[in-house]
C-alpha cells in the first residue's frame, strides 16, 4: 500500500458536483426568498429561477444517477461502520490535538465512513424529500381540485421547507469540513483537478499504470 496521486473524480463527476452546488445555492437563496425570509428577488423572478433551477437539477440528477450505476461508482456510497469510530473520534478530539486524519482514501472507497453515510443520507432522504415534494408542489394545478387539496399542499410545503432547512445546515457543515485536516485548498482542489492522494494496493497501482496511465501521477 502506498500513497499516489490518482484521478478519483472524473470530469463528469466534477461537472456534476459544481453545477449541483450552483443550483443548490440558487435554490436555497430563491427558496428562502419565496418563503418570505428576504426580498432579494421579486416573487415572480424567484419562482421562475427556483423552478428553472429545480428542473435543471432534476435533469442533472437523472444523468448523475445513470452515471453512478453504469460506472459502479454508487459503491463509494455504501455506508460502513468500518473506521467510523476513528473518524468520529478525530473530529471530536484528535483534531484539537493536531492529530492527522485517520482515514486514507482507497481507490474504491474515496469517502471516509462519515462522509459516505452523510452523502448517502443526503441522496436517499433529504434530496428525495425535497424533489418529490417540490414536484408535487409544482404540479398543484393538476391536483388542486382533489378534496382537501389545500391541506395536502400545506403538508407538502411543510416537508419541502423542513428539507430545505436541513440541506442548508448540511451545506454549512460540508463547507466547514473543507477547513479540517489539510488546508482548505487541499480539500477543494481534487474536485477541480480530479486528483487526490489515494492509498493504492500494488495491484491497483499496476492496473492504473498499465491501463489508465493518465489517471495516476
Amino acid at each position: 500500500m502506498a500513497l499516489h496521486r490518482v484521478k478519483i473524480f472524473s470530469l463528469f463527476e466534477r461537472f456534476w458536483h459544481w453545477s449541483q452546488m450552483l443550483l443548490i445555492v440558487l435554490l436555497l437563496i430563491t427558496g428562502f426568498g419565496l418563503h418570505g425570509f428576504h426580498d432579494l428577488f421579486s416573487f415572480e423572478d424567484a419562482v421562475t429561477l427556483h423552478t428553472g433551477a429545480a428542473l435543471t437539477l432534476l435533469v442533472l440528477w437523472a444523468f448523475g444517477t445513470f452515471w453512478l450505476f453504469t460506472t459502479r461508482s454508487w459503491r463509494h456510497f455504501i455506508p460502513t461502520v468500518h473506521g467510523m469510530w476513528g473518524v468520529l473520534r478525530y473530529y471530536s478530539l484528535g483534531i484539537f490535538k493536531g492529530e492527522r486524519h485517520p482515514y486514507r482514501k482507497a481507490y474504491w472507497r474515496k469517502h471516509n465512513p462519515l462522509q459516505a453515510l452523510a452523502y448517502t443520507m443526503l441522496k436517499l432522504v433529504l434530496f428525495p424529500a425535497i424533489w418529490i415534494t417540490g414536484l408535487i408542489y409544482l404540479f398543484y394545478f393538476a391536483w388542486r381540485d382533489l378534496p382537501d387539496a389545500t391541506a395536502y399542499l400545506t403538508g407538502v410545503a411543510l416537508i419541502h421547507t423542513a428539507a430545505a432547512f436541513a440541506i442548508l445546515a448540511f451545506v454549512f457543515i460540508h463547507v466547514y469540513m473543507l477547513t479540517t485536516g489539510h488546508s482548505f485548498r487541499d480539500h477543494v482542489m481534487p474536485m477541480i483537478t480530479g486528483f487526490d492522494e489515494v492509498d493504492l494496493t500494488p495491484e491497483e497501482e499496476a492496473y492504473l499504470r498499465k491501463d489508465q496511465p493518465e489517471d495516476i501521477r
Binding site: L34, G36, L138, F139, F141, A142, T161, A162, F165
Partner: protein, 573 residues
C-alpha cells in the same frame, strides 16, 4: 324578472362545442408537460387544432344568428315623427314605439323597469322596489324621489301602472344631447324640492332626434350617482368614467378602446348581462364562437379562460390562478380612482340636527379632482369618504343573501350584513374577489330585530326630510306597507359588500405576485382556506429550522475556536 340567460337565439348553435383556445381543452396532465417544456424549448403552437363539430340536424330551422350590431341604419333627425313638439317624455316614447313596435314589451321585462328580481337560488324577493340598503336605506315609500332613476315616467306610489309601455323613458338611456334630466315624481317637502327648482326646460324634440346607442353618460346618470351622489355607492362607478383616460379604465378610456357600458353588458331584447343580483363569479365557458355568449358580461367572455400569454413560467402560473382569483382582484389594484371619492361610512345617528329649525349641510372633504363633498347633511347624517381604496378580498361564489325587510335578526346583534355572501376554496364555484365594504349606522326596529322602511320623502308631516322626526318617519314607513313595527327604533351597524369590477387598470398597473405572496401586508392577508406560498408558514417549523441552522453555525464556530486555541503550533500543516 326571469334570469336573462339562455334565450333561444343566444343558445350555442353547436351545443357540443367547447369554446376557446386548444390550450383550454388540454387535460391537466398534458398541460403539466408544458411546464417543463416552457423552460427550455421555444414555444410551439399547440398541435391540437381541435375540430369544429358538424351542426346537429334539426327539423325546424332556428333563427339565423347575426353578429353584434355596429353603426346605424337610420338618421333619427330625418324622422317626421320626432320633429315634435312634444308635451312630455311619454309622447316621445309613443313616437319611438310607433316604429320600434316590440321594444315596449321587451323593455318591460328588464330590471330597469321592474325594479324587481327574484333570486332563482334563494327565492328572495330582491330589487330596488323592495330592498333596504345602507345608504338612503329604502326606495319603497320614497318613490317620489327615488324613481328619478326609474326608466319610466310618473312612478310616485303604489298606483303606478307597470303594464303601460307609454310610460317607459327611452330618452334617459338613448338621448345624447346631455341636456336631458329628470326630477322627482312628487313634490316632497319644500325643504327639499328647492333643490330641483330653476332648471332649464328640456328640448324634447332635440333630445328625441339625438338618440343613439347608450353612451357612458346615459348609464352614468343613474349608475354613477347611486346612493345619492357621485360614486357614493359603488366605488368603481363614478362620473370620472364619463370620459376617462385609459389609465383609469383600460376598456372605457377615451384614449383607448372607448367602450360604452353595453360593450360588456351585452344586451338581448333590452335585457342586460351582468346584474349584481346574479353574479357569475367564475366563468368556466370563456369566449364563444361567433353568435354565442350574449348572456354574460364576464371578463372571460372576451378574454377566454387562459388570458395571459404563455411565454414564461409566470404566464403559465397566472393562467393557473384564473381558477381561484377573479380577474378583477389583480387588475383593479384600487377603486375610487380618477379623483372621485366614494362613501365608506355613513352615520344616520347624527341626522336631524338643525340650525334655527332648518336643516343644513357641511362640506369637509376635498376629493382628488378638487371638488368639495358634503360630510354632513341634516337629512342623512355624517359621511366618511375615501379614494384610491385597496379593496377587501374574499372567496365569492356569486351568491348574495340579503337582509330584507322580512329578515329577523337578534336585536342585540353587533353587525348586520345587508348582503352577506357565500363562497369558499372548496366549492369549485368561487374565486377570490375584490369588494368595497360599506359600513353604516342605520335605524332598525329594536323591538323586533328587523330593518325598517323609513319614510324620507313626502309632502306630509312624517317625511323625515323636512321634519327630522325619525320615530314618525319609521312609524309611517312601516305602516304604509302594513308592516309590524314594535314602535321602538334604534341604530344598528350594517355592512354591505360591493363586488368591484370596473376601473380596470392597464396591465402594467396590475398587482404583482409579491402583492399577495408576502409575509407582511399581503393583499390576501385575511383570506382563509388556502396555503399561500410566501404568506403562510408554520411558525414551529420556521423556529426549529432557524434554530437548526444557527445551531449548526454556532457549533461550527465553537469547533473552529477550540481548534484554533487548542492545536499545538507545530502540528499544524
Amino acid at each position: 324578472m326571469p334570469a336573462p340567460r339562455r334565450t333561444p337565439w343566444a343558445e350555442r348553435p353547436f351545443p357540443g362545442a367547447a369554446g376557446g383556445h386548444p390550450w383550454q381543452r388540454c387535460s391537466p396532465l398534458w398541460r403539466g408537460a408544458w411546464i417543463a417544456m416552457l423552460l427550455w424549448l421555444p414555444l410551439v403552437a399547440a398541435a391540437d387544432a381541435g375540430s369544429w363539430p358538424t351542426p346537429p340536424a334539426s327539423e325546424e330551422a332556428p333563427p339565423q344568428v347575426s353578429g353584434p350590431l355596429q353603426g346605424g341604419t337610420a338618421d333619427h333627425t330625418k324622422f317626421e315623427e320626432l320633429a315634435g313638439p312634444f308635451a312630455d317624455g311619454s309622447e316621445v316614447t309613443q313616437a319611438c314605439l310607433g316604429c320600434h313596435t316590440e321594444t315596449g314589451k321587451h323593455f318591460m321585462q328588464n330590471i330597469h323597469w321592474t325594479w324587481s328580481f327574484e333570486d332563482p337560488n334563494t327565492g328572495q324577493q330582491l330589487g330596488k322596489k323592495y330592498l333596504i340598503n345602507n345608504f338612503c336605506t329604502n326606495a319603497r315609500g320614497n318613490e317620489g324621489m327615488c324613481t328619478q332613476c326609474h326608466a319610466g315616467y310618473g312612478w310616485k306610489d303604489e298606483s303606478f301602472d307597470f303594464t303601460d309601455e307609454t310610460k317607459i323613458d327611452c330618452l334617459v338611456c338613448h338621448e345624447t344631447t346631455g341636456t336631458y334630466y329628470k326630477t322627482p315624481n312628487s313634490a316632497g317637502s319644500p325643504a327639499c324640492s328647492v333643490m330641483f327648482e330653476g332648471k332649464p326646460p328640456i328640448d324634447l324634440a332635440a333630445a328625441a332626434q339625438s338618440v343613439d346607442l347608450p353612451q357612458r353618460a346615459n348609464c352614468g346618470a343613474c349608475h354613477f350617482m347611486g346612493g345619492g351622489g357621485d360614486n357614493v355607492k359603488h366605488g368603481d362607478l363614478s362620473s370620472a368614467l364619463k370620459a376617462p383616460p385609459r389609465t383609469l379604465d383600460v376598456h372605457m378610456g377615451v384614449d383607448g378602446l372607448n367602450f360604452a357600458c353595453t360593450a360588456c353588458h351585452v344586451t338581448n331584447k333590452h335585457v342586460w348581462a351582468g346584474s349584481r343580483y346574479n353574479v357569475v363569479a367564475k366563468d368556466t365557458e370563456g369566449t364563444g364562437l361567433p353568435g354565442q355568449r350574449t348572456d354574460v358580461a364576464t371578463c372571460e367572455s372576451c378574454h377566454g379562460l387562459a388570458p395571459h400569454p404563455v411565454d414564461s413560467l409566470a404566464g403559465f402560473k397566472l393562467n393557473d390562478h384564473v381558477q381561484s382569483i377573479a380577474c378583477q382582484t389583480c387588475h383593479i389594484p384600487a377603486f375610487a380612482r380618477g379623483g372621485v371619492a366614494t362613501v365608506v361610512d355613513w352615520d344616520w345617528r347624527t341626522a336631524g340636527r338643525t340650525r334655527d329649525g332648518e336643516g343644513f349641510h357641511e362640506e369637509g372633504y376635498i376629493q382628488g379632482n378638487g371638488e368639495h363633498r358634503y360630510t354632513y347633511k341634516s337629512i342623512k347624517g355624517h359621511f366618511t369618504y375615501d379614494e384610491d381604496i385597496v379593496p377587501e378580498y374574499a372567496w365569492f361564489d356569486g351568491q348574495m343573501v340579503y337582509t330584507t325587510i322580512d329578515t329577523e335578526f337578534d336585536p342585540d346583534a353587533a353587525v348586520i350584513e345587508i348582503n352577506g355572501f357565500t363562497g369558499s376554496r372548496e366549492d369549485g364555484r368561487s374565486r377570490i374577489w375584490p369588494f368595497k365594504r360599506m359600513h353604516t349606522w342605520q335605524p332598525y326596529d329594536k323591538g323586533h330585530g328587523t330593518l325598517v322602511y323609513t319614510h324620507l320623502w313626502g309632502e306630509d308631516d312624517a317625511a323625515y326630510w323636512g321634519n327630522y322626526d325619525m320615530a314618525a318617519a319609521i312609524e309611517k314607513g312601516m305602516a304604509d306597507f302594513g308592516l309590524d313595527y314594535s314602535g321602538e327604533y334604534g341604530f344598528i351597524e350594517t355592512l354591505s359588500w360591493w363586488p368591484i369590477t370596473h376601473m380596470v387598470a392597464p396591465k402594467a398597473q396590475a398587482l404583482g405576485c409579491g402583492d399577495c405572496h408576502t409575509p407582511s401586508n399581503s393583499r390576501l392577508a385575511s383570506v382563509a382556506g388556502i396555503y399561500l406560498p410566501g404568506r403562510d408558514r408554520n411558525p414551529w417549523l420556521d423556529g426549529i429550522g432557524t434554530i437548526l441552522v444557527f445551531g449548526t453555525l454556532a457549533g461550527i464556530l465553537i469547533h473552529a475556536l477550540v481548534r484554533i486555541f487548542s492545536k499545538p503550533k507545530e502540528a499544524q500543516h
